[in-house]
Structures are given as C-alpha cells and as structure tokens.
Symmetry: none
Subunit: 125 residues, 4 copies
DNA sequence: GTGGTCTAGACCACA
DNA sequence: GTGGTCTAGACCACA
C-alpha cells in the first residue's frame, strides 16, 4: 500500500511520519485526500496500531494532516505550508553542517564546489 | 574541568565523545596530552565509571585517543587524521541535505546564497 | 543453541562477535534472520545481558546485524558487504606476515610453496 | 638507546620483547653481546624496572637471551635458532589467514597475486 | 594507580 | 517483550 519497508534502524513511527510527509510533498498524496484508518493501515503494514496512532499524531502536530471527528484523517489543504517548513528545516541543517566545516577549516570555495557537484549529479538524474 | 553539561537528551557517553573530539579538533587538547583517568573523570562529572569507559572506548575506536596499558589514555598523535574524517563526514551530511532541498524544489542559487550568509556571519565572529 | 564455548582467553564479547560473524559468513545465519534477544541469549549462555549487549553492539557497528527498535536484532541484508570487508582484512594481515618473512630472509618461492600446501590440504577437506 | 617508542597500544613489556628480538634478528645486536642491566634500561626508557624484568624474562624463555648469574644477560649464541622459530611462527600465521580466506571464497590465484605484489614492492625498497 | 571486562540490576523508549 | 543507557561494584592485567 504505502510501500514502507520496516527494516530500518529508525523507529517505525518516525519512518511512517517521514514516508507520508514525503508522499504529500511529492504529490503522491493530494490535498484533502483521506488517509487509511489506523486499524486498516496497521493491518496493512503488519504493525501495532499504537505505532500508527503515534505517527498520525506527529503528522497532525506538524500540520501534514488534519482530522475530522467521526470522518477520519485527511491530507492538509495547504501542502505548500508543509513544503515551506521542510525547506527551512533543511536550510537550518545545512547551516549547522557548514558551521561545523568552517570550524574544521574548510573554505567557502570548497563547500560551494561540493554543493555544485551534487546539483550536477542530481540534475542529470 | 571539561566543562561538560549533561542536561542534553543525548546519551551521556555520546555527549562526552563529542565534547572531547571537539576539544581535540579546536586545539583545547593537544597531541599526546593525557586525558583524566576513567575514575577521576567519573568522579568529576558525577557519573558512573562505566559511562566514561564507554565514551573513552568510542574515542579510541574513532582514533581520537589511544591508551597505554597501565599508564592511561592520551590524545592521538595524528589529530589531522581525525580532522579529515570529520570533514568528509560533514560533506557527506551536506550532500544529504542538499539532495533533500533539491527534491523540495530549492534552486542552486538559493542554496549557495544560504551558504554565503553563514560564511559571512561566521567570518565576522 | 549457538554452540559457543566460552573457555577461551578472548573476552566473551569478542568471542561472541567472532562466532556470530562466522555463522553469518558461512550461511548458518541468513540475511534478515532474527537473532535471539539479549536476555534470551544471556540466559542460554549463562552470561550477563550487558556482555551480550556489547557483542551485539559490535556486530551492528561492523555491519553484521541491524536492530529494529522494539522488535529485535537481525542479520544484515547485505552479507556480501561483510564478506568483502573480511577479505580485505585477511589480505592486509597476510601482507604483514609476508613482510615479516621477507625481513627474515624467506624467499618468494618458499612462501608460495606454503600457500600451495594449505590450499591442497583445505581443498581435500 | 634502544629507540623504543612507547605510545603503542601493546603492553610495554611486549613492545620491548619484540623490539629486542628484532634487533637480534637484524644484526643490530650480535651473538653473546651483553644487554643493559634491568636498572639501567629502566632508567633509560623511563619505565618501571618490573616491566624490563618481565620483558627480559620473556626473551630468555623464547631463547633470545641467556643470563649468567652475577654477570648479566647476553644475546643468545645461536641467533639462527631464533630466526628459525620466527620463520615457522610467521608461516603458521600465514596458514591461519589463508585458511580464513579460503573459507571466504578467495581463490589460490588471488592469494598468490597478493603475495607477489608484496614481494615486488618490498624488493624495490 | 590505570584501563578492560564482567556481573547484577534498574529504568526508559518503542512496539 | 526488545534494545539502549546507566549505576554500583568486583576482579584482572599492566605498570
């Protein structure tokens, strides 16, 4: 269903949260689209319902989904907002890493060079 | 002594490993300088000797320290090697983050702009 | 269960790490196969859980196993990678020994002859 | 004096034993040559006399030295015998490693190739 | 005294 | 129940 493989070292609930967020951001899940119920998804994935519950709770907390009582859970109607949050998180993380590299004596040019390489590689694929 | 605050969520042994690695890389600890003994540091930090032992074990595994039996532990005599490992780790991490941003539609120019900002800020301080 | 004899001079945790790595490489343990839980194996071997924990930690560090939180530990899904590491370690060790023999004046032909003998013996068995 | 650096992870007494054996085998120490006294060497190396005592004991046990009561310790008068022991030890070690590689599926030709490489490299230097 | 190993047992997050 | 972390404390080799 969700194509989630659980052999990772990350806690399952985090994997799920990440995966669903990813699907929302890539358009695999659309705005206001309903998500499977806790029980259904738990059965599908062969996972404890508590684990699904936890992932769904996190998704709601970070604004990826909303719930309508008695109806179920749905993808947010403002995916763009989620994207913005993710972008700013990513930039914050890069900031941390770059600071680390500065402390280690890596120059601006070297960092830029690395970033360029990645863009070249990814652009092709 | 080591100015280690243990209020983080990170396991104590990891905090210690990180802290000492940092001190080695910033020059606060010099090549071949002796580290406090397991028992001494444990007493200083109010922590169990096993926890120190574990951190010291990790430091040795990653090449930050070496131990001389019956004598104690010392900072590696090749700090530069540690630095190289840390740099390549940092670059790998940036790679991951940049890929993430590409997926989110952030352009090359925007990423570069962010990196430049950080360099400007850090260069001043 | 694991047929581990703990009468060696090697630390128990190292014996265990070695034994399990061996079982993985010889196919006695298959990819993604679950390992006994820390507590279970500790009881089986009459050894402290911490000692098992330590061995399991090493196995994870060297990529022989992975752990899924709340579920347990499993044999890596890429045994071939472990094999490659072990081969390169073995070759490095032979290198050291051969250098030693060269220093002692042993000729190329003599070393080769010894290697051939071992292959003959092992091929038969 | 003996050019021994003690920053290794090996116990000092083992380092000393190895170093002196090496000096005997390379001709740096000659047959029947006297060794420094325990006290003298301990002072020279800034090491506990017990440690020297222990190394000297091992050297005598493996036939590298002999002691004349009241006179001191001397290099064996049959260095060739020491060499033979070392050679057979080296061959035994290679045997172990080769067996390991056979278990890992490495072919005879590959091992030979590696040995040849090392000979080529060492022959030049 | 110094590090290395191990036992005994508690507590936590995760499932 | 399962792994991860930590405390408390013993014993050993090495110096």
């Amino acid at each position: 269903m969700f194509g989630i493989s659980l052999n990772n070292r990350l806690p399952i609930h985090e994997q799920l949260t990440e995966k669903i967020t990813d699907m929302v951001l890539t358009g695999a899940l659309e705005e206001n689209e309903p998500l499977p119920s806790v029980r259904e998804l738990a059965a599908d994935l062969g996972v404890n319902p508590n684990t699904i519950q936890r992932a769904y709770g996190e998704l709601e907390r970070i604004g990826v989904t909303y719930s309508v009582s008695g109806k179920g859970r749905f993808v947010t109607d403002d995916i763009e907002a989620v994207r913005r949050v993710k972008v700013s998180e990513g930039i914050k993380n890069i900031g941390k890493e770059v600071k680390e590299l500065i402390k280690l004596g890596v120059s601006y040019t070297e960092v830029i060079e690395e970033v360029r390489k990645i863009y070249d590689r990814e652009a092709k694929s």
